[in-house]
């Protein structure tokens, strides 16, 4: 075990864990931030997606020792009151079915809109080709992103 300092959702946390422990399990098991989900652990589904300095990162694919000073944002920290344009669009468009993949989808969408506030269908395809929704909410994901893009800063 080793000590690591990581910044999650704006707060500094000190964790004493194995250096190879993926960020996902630090978030879920140690910091009790269970919004980021485990879906495969091998970078194949996107359920664990968080932001690392604002960019999309599969948290199952980065060991805690590699996070360094970069700022981690999870679904819990995406907005104060759940008011991020994507969160509001997700509710309005009734995107979730089982909901399990949706934190990852929203975080990927947030990273996309940050880089590219008015994504085309092809831009959306590029990002979401690596995100699985087993319930098949794809149509509404696309609609919600487009709706949010209309209001995202």
């Amino acid at each position: 075990m080793s000590q690591f300092k990581i910044n999650v959702n704006g707060s500094e946390h000190s964790v004493d864990v194995a250096p190879d422990m993926p960020l996902l399990w630090v978030l879920r098991d140690v910091l009790d931030l269970t919004g980021s989900k485990f879906g495969c652990g091998i970078g194949a589904c996107g359920a664990c997606t968080v932001l690392l300095d604002g960019s999309e990162q599969q948290s199952c694919q980065i060991p805690v020792s590699a996070v360094g000073h970069r700022k981690v944002t999870t679904i819990e920290g995406l907005s104060k009151d759940g008011n991020h344009p994507l969160q509001r669009a997700w509710i309005e468009h009734d995107v979730p079915q089982c909901g399990y993949c949706q934190a990852g989808q929203i975080m990927a969408g947030a990273a996309l809109l940050k880089k590219n506030p008015h994504p085309t269908d092809a831009d959306i395809d590029d990002v979401f080709a690596s995100h699985i929704c087993r319930c098949g909410t794809y149509q509404r994901i696309r609609e919600a992103i487009k709706a949010a893009a209309g209001v995202a800063k």
């Binding site: 864990v17 931030l33 879906g39 008011n83 009734d94 909901g99 949706q102 087993r134």
Partner: protein, 705 residues
């Protein structure tokens, strides 16, 4: 071919897992008890996790002091006027927590934003059987939950009548208020709770609304769990943490029927955070202070396996066994043109997005479970049986399910957690990894369908013989088309691969095969596949969805070269569906352009939910038509994860257009009806584009004939 060894687990699983048609019965007796005998004293169980469709709604509760009116085990009205509905059906994404609450809210006349839902405790004495399967949730609770809402409303009216000293039959309700006959006086439900709690329980059933008066049913509501899902607050089984809890994963058999000869855990025990290693019936459990420690410890285990009787089993042998079970087809009428075809289907995994897991805390004489289960009452019984304790001593808390599709009708993962907790005397969260889940499912059976049919000189079908040979499960096909002397047979070969119900069960095979072969008969008769079907369909509602699908997809309009449209339909679970898929083929790549989906489920309680089910089932249909398959080698499953069990992703999806028709005045099931006509519409579209037929799923262009 019966020589292939049978795996002992066969189709049983646990918790009556094989029973798909379990109804959510609140028996007549228990309903009357609920309405007429339990009394206002019956407190509802835990309200700690309330969900509400409005963002921030759950915390907006002012918690005004006063009497809570809880006339039955399903509804309570608190002094704020907020109404909490207890949901007895687990929600695996089908939206039961939303649609069931709508039924109560409708008859109670409460605004949707004042509705909260909570998951009911698992208690068959109060709620009857709690489970989801066979698309029965809305169908079986449509009447009962409205009656419960209406009975609660009647008591609130009685309370107002008493306060105002008027005849209750003169009073009306709207938006959470009781209103006087002249409309001049109005009192909020929240201000009536104390008086309502003293009212006698109704002994006769209150009258239900006519459908013209519905405010919610048929109009739609957004999901009650959305605000929690989009903020990460929603709690699935895997998100549960209880004091003193440890984490476990199990090293499982590489082949079905394999067993442990011996294992060496010396390296495992050196992994930091590993606490214990225990052998349980399903394998070797590694327990750690966190998930990663348990996973790392499992990685370091050395297990010597006895591979067992399935060690040589592979997909080729299974296919051979299925083909060998085909019997000669009957002769077709003399002078007719006969057509033969076969279709081969792979095993499919459920692959729920949330891998299987459970938290179990076994203590002396009792046990508490937190998990996602499709059969809470059945699984509670299984745990009681395993621990040899009374069922009342097993508390099973139903969390949100990260997908079900039939997988969580079984409870091996719960049993694993109980076994480990019992062995180590601590609460434990037991998780299956994606790979565990992929390799140890109860799979949709592989199947081989063999057909012979015939058309006469005027292009009318005059013969039909279908033999469906499943590697597991069972059942016999039937057809929706009017063909004289149609023969439909089902056989099962017993193979050592465990099988179980998968969204729409045998219809994933039989209807898909039928709809492909009827297309071949249409082609043989020289007729348009839509017109050919339309002329032969026996059921008016089925014909209607087919016609609307043709119309919405511009069926008769010409397509560019290389494009093709395919059509198919399905009737089951009290509902009707039809699909048209438009695609094109470039080289060996199939590109999907448009999916036209039409459903008639009678009353669509929540049209948004119905549309979501159709979109989801369409995605499943496309995924299994084009991508996903489970294959067997050396007695075990070849696929590991999403990398080789490939599902649709957003970039590959066509535009999905859903049309909802109302062809009846009661709700039909929606969980499964949207699946069985998707894959055949794809296969038929492939034929339209290439002139070549699909003989094997998933479809590969290079395998067309």
């Amino acid at each position: 071919m019966r020589h292939l060894p049978t795996h002992s687990r066969s189709n049983q699983g646990g918790g009556g897992g094989g029973k798909v048609s379990n109804r959510l019965d609140i028996s007549r007796r228990s309903f009357i008890q609920i309405v007429g005998g339990v009394g206002a004293s019956l407190a509802l169980a835990s309200f700690s996790s309330l969900a509400c469709a409005d963002l921030g709604g759950a915390k907006a509760a002012k918690l005004k002091k006063g009497v809570v009116f809880a006339p039955n085990a399903f509804v309570k009205v608190d002094p704020d006027g907020l109404v909490t509905v207890s949901i007895i059906a687990p929600d695996a994404g089908q939206g039961s927590r939303t649609s069931l609450a709508m039924l109560v809210a409708e008859e109670l006349d409460v605004d949707w934003h004042n509705i909260r839902v909570t998951q009911a405790p698992t208690d068959s004495a109060v709620y009857g059987n709690q489970g989801i399967g066979g698309s029965h949730t809305i169908v079986s609770l449509y009447q009962e939950l409205r009656e419960i809402g209406a009975a609660t409303r009647a008591m609130l009216i009685a309370a107002a009548a008493k306060t105002w000293e008027v005849d209750p039959t003169t009073l009306k309700t709207a938006k959470g208020h009781v209103i006087s006959a002249d409309g001049k006086k109005s009192v909020a439900y929240g201000d009536l709770t104390a008086m309502a709690a003293t009212m006698p329980l109704p002994t006769v059933k209150a009258e239900l609304k006519k459908s013209e008066a519905f405010n919610l049913i048929g109009k739609g509501a957004t999901r009650v769990d959305n605000p929690d899902v989009v903020t990460g607050r929603a709690k699935y089984g895997l998100d549960v943490k209880v004091p003193g809890m440890v984490y476990a994963v199990v090293a499982r058999t590489p082949a079905f029927g394999a067993s442990i000869k011996s294992f060496d855990d010396s390296a495992t025990k050196k992994v930091p955070g590993v606490l214990e290693v225990v052998q349980i019936p399903s394998g070797v459990a590694v327990v750690g202070t966190n998930t990663w420690a348990a996973l790392s410890g499992r990685q370091a285990l050395k297990i010597d396996w006895e591979m067992g009787s399935n060690a040589d089993l592979n997909s080729a042998k299974i296919t051979e066994a299925m083909k060998a079970a085909v019997e000669p087809h009957p002769d077709m009428p003399a002078g007719s043109k006969s057509v033969e075809a076969s279709l081969q289907f792979p095993y499919l995994a459920h692959a729920t997005m949330e891998p299987l897991n459970a938290v179990a805390d076994v203590q002396e004489g009792r046990c508490t479970i937190w998990t996602g289960s499709q059969q809470p009452t059945g699984h509670q019984k299984d745990v009681a049986g395993l621990l040899k304790i009374p069922v009342e001593q097993v508390t099973l808390n139903v969390m949100l399910l990260g997908g079900g599709f039939g997988r969580r009708l079984y409870d091996e993962y719960i049993i694993d957690a109980v076994n480990v907790s019992k062995a180590i005397k601590k609460p434990v969260k037991l998780m299956w990894t994606r790979e565990d889940d992929m390799k140890h499912d109860n799979y949709r059976p592989a199947c081989f369908c063999s057909f012979r049919g015939a058309v006469d000189g005027s292009g009318n079908p005059v013969g039909w013989s279908h033999q469906a040979i499943q590697a597991g499960m069972g059942g016999r096909p039937s057809i929706n088309y009017d063909i004289a002397n149609a023969s439909n047979k089902g056989h099962t070969v017993r193979i050592g691969v465990p099988t179980g119900p998968w969204r729409s069960v045998e219809n994933t095979l039989f209807n898909v095969a039928n709809e492909c072969f009827i297309d071949e008969l249409a082609h043989a008769s020289g007729k348009d596949p839509f017109e050919f079907r339309r002329a032969l369909l026996k059921d008016d509602r089925l014909r209607k969805v087919l016609e609307v699908a043709a119309e919405k997809s511009d069926w008769s309009k010409p397509l560019p070269a290389g494009h093709g449209r395919g059509i198919a339909c399905f009737h089951g679970y009290g509902s009707y569906a039809a699909h048209v898929i438009e695609l094109s083929i470039e080289g060996n790549k199939i590109r999907l352009h448009k999916a036209t989906c039409v459903v008639d489920c009678g009353i669509a309680v929540n049209p948004k939910g119905v549309e979501a089910q159709m979109q989801g089932a369409c995605t499943d249909g496309l995924s299994t038509a084009l991508r996903a398959e489970i294959t067997i080698d050396k007695g075990g499953v070849v696929q590991d994860s999403w990398t080789d069990y490939r599902w649709m992703t957003l970039d590959a999806m066509p535009k999905v257009e859903v049309t909802i028709l109302q062809g009846g005045d009661s709700p039909g099931g929606m969980g499964e009806v949207g699946y069985p006509s998707v894959a055949p519409a794809v296969a038929n579209a492939v034929f339209a584009a290439t002139g070549k037929r699909v003989r094997k799923f998933p479809i590969k262009v290079e395998e067309l004939v």
